[in-house]
């Protein structure tokens, strides 16, 4: 069955929405249609994708005006006669057709202070209880599709806020680390308030509405962070204490290694190795000689029974 589609074509110098009539088969998703357009009508149509399973976060696009994953939007959710309009993410600069430059999000990610383990605990010695890490684990589901960042009106409708505002994806990272049982840093909430622009968020929940991983971004990360800021900043008792003892704890709090531009050092450049510390300790060479993996023979009892 042939259906009508409109796809935005162009680059940063301009573009337009073009019409395509494409066959749709049962069980297909929007990404399949893009691929069919590439195969049959427009071989130069640019689109980013990888897994086609909703797990890599590459195929973010706007389908009938709604930010969604192309590979997770079933054609069966539209009427047969409905025209489907596909455009690139609006909040980021376009590279070509459906491909946008999402580096804003990586810049903001690098400005977020990394996990900081307690002193004297070497990698490999970390012990945590499940109920303590549970809350943080919800945020680990993030596939970095940046649909939330794209939908958030703070930057979508106000380009000038991009400098001050890091966006919901950064807030769940900040919340994840602030709630992490082994994170030793205690100033993450102040950091989120002062340098990530937490106050710009007016909790209208569009990030939660579009998140394909159904992370409760606003309820479980942003509002708890705001409440944690209230604990420190707007509590009248704390304020009174500060007035009486003439001590501004906030001003004294170290600026978590931020430079004069309020940006943090890029950890990877200062470290002797790229990437985070190894769970086996940093003094290991690979392949590991002391750790052996014994693969159970088929049919033998499993290790934890």
């Amino acid at each position: 069955m042939s259906r009508h589609f409109r796809v935005w074509r162009g680059d940063s110098s301009g573009g337009e929405i073009r019409d395509y009539d494409v066959d749709v088969n049962d069980g297909e998703v929007v990404l399949d249609i893009i691929h069919r357009i590439q195969a049959t009508q427009a071989p130069d149509l640019a689109c980013r994708w990888n897994c086609k399973a909703g797990k890599c976060g590459s195929c973010s696009m706007e389908i009938n005006g709604k930010p969604r994953l192309g590979c997770m939007t079933r054609m069966s959710t539209f009427e047969e006669s409905e025209t489907v309009t596909i455009t690139p993410l609006r909040a980021f600069p376009v590279i070509r057709d459906l491909v946008t430059d999402v580096s804003f999000n990586y810049t903001k990610a690098r400005e977020t202070p990394a996990f900081s383990p307690p002193e004297g605990l070497a990698p490999g010695e970390y012990r945590m209880q499940q109920i303590d890490v549970e809350r943080s684990q919800e945020f680990r589901k993030c596939i970095e599709c940046f649909l939330c960042q794209n939908t958030c009106h703070v930057v979508r409708d106000h380009e000038e806020n991009k400098e001050a505002f890091s966006g919901p994806r950064s807030f769940i990272r900040a919340a994840e680390l602030d709630m992490h049982p082994l994170d030793a840093r205690s100033d993450r909430k102040e950091y989120a308030q002062a340098h990530q622009g937490l106050g710009y968020c007016n909790i209208t929940k569009c990030c939660s509405e579009v998140c394909p991983e159904h992370i409760k971004i606003t309820d479980n990360a942003i509002i708890p962070l705001k409440e944690r800021v209230v604990d420190r900043r707007y509590d009248p008792l704390v304020w009174l204490g500060r007035k009486i003892f003439r001590r501004d704890q906030l001003a004294e709090a170290p600026q978590v290694g931020a430079g004069p531009d309020a940006h943090l050092d890029v950890g990877e450049m200062l470290s002797t190795q790229s990437g985070g510390p190894s769970p086996f300790g940093d003094d290991q060479t690979f392949p590991l000689t002391e750790i052996t993996y014994q693969h159970p023979a088929p049919g033998s009892p499993s290790r934890d029974s």
Binding site: G10, G15, I17, E62, K66, F92, H153, I203, T204, D219
Partner: protein, 262 residues
């Protein structure tokens, strides 16, 4: 390692339409606008009516006049004395209403509702903000949304007073009015306890749940309620208006209370 080549001057896709959404995205903000406006109108009229708020026979006091504190309070309705003068601008419950207003105004759910429906910032997701400038809650006056925590404490105390009103009304028997008053108080408690600030105080602020098993359970309980916070916000608007209307109808003599035991 990610490479993030910045491309100065790179522009967003030139899409003429302000939004390409084809669903009825304007419906939810419209309903919110109509619902909240209607409620505020009703409540304002009732608060400044200064009559039909108390049924002496059965001790029914509407939550809009509780606790009754002005010299105008009819016989039996004032439980805490009448320190306030009778001036038409002063509501009977002048000590509680401002805090309740603050509580609901700074509530995280109502904020979402009126930012979307009244302020259009944004009216719906992926629909442009109606304003040219935007600073969110970073400065005066919206930075005062952070007072929500304290409004929550006040609202808890007021819920206790409302509970007392409901209990007192059982002194003279049992009627439909008791059911309505009690249901309202139960919903008010559910709404108040489902508050995000309450969730934070209950246990959300802890780093190690394993060290605080009791607070963890309380937090789990509040979290479950909290997931329904929006529903409870609307339900309590409904029960508040209904309770008040029922008491008004009885006090004005429009119909008699349905008594089960008297």
């Amino acid at each position: 390692m990610t490479t993030t080549v910045s491309r100065p001057g790179a522009k967003r896709a030139a899409i003429a339409a302000r939004t390409l959404r084809t669903d009825r995205w304007w419906l939810a903000p419209l309903i919110t606008f109509a619902g909240l406006s209607a409620w505020v109108l009703y409540a304002t009229v009732r608060v400044f009516m200064h009559k039909w708020y108390y049924v002496p026979d059965f001790h029914y006091l509407t939550p809009f006049y509780s606790p009754c504190l002005t010299d105008r309070c009819v016989e039996g309705s004032a439980e805490f004395g009448t320190p306030l003068p009778s001036f038409w601008l002063i509501p009977e419950a002048a000590f509680t209403l401002p805090f309740l207003l603050l509580f609901r105004l700074t509530c995280y759910y109502y904020r979402k509702a009126y930012y979307r429906a009244f302020w259009l910032s944004p009216p719906a997701c992926a629909v442009p903000d109606a304003h040219a400038k935007y600073t969110g809650e970073t400065r005066f006056p919206l930075v005062f949304q952070n007072l929500h925590r304290y409004a929550f404490y006040a609202a808890t105390i007021i819920s206790v007073i409302n509970t007392w009103d409901a209990i007192r009304s059982f002194g003279t028997g049992f009627g439909l009015g008791n059911v309505i008053l009690t249901a309202n108080v139960v919903m008010l408690w559910a709404y108040t306890l489902s508050c995000h600030s309450c969730r934070h105080i209950a246990g959300g602020r802890l780093k190690h749940f394993s060290k605080h098993p009791v607070r963890y359970r309380f937090w789990t309980f509040v979290s479950k309620l909290n997931a329904r916070h929006m529903l409870l916000a609307w339900v309590t608007l409904g029960t508040l208006a209904l309770t008040d209307f029922y008491v008004m109808a009885l006090a004005a003599g429009w119909w008699p209370d349905l008594r089960f035991i008297s």
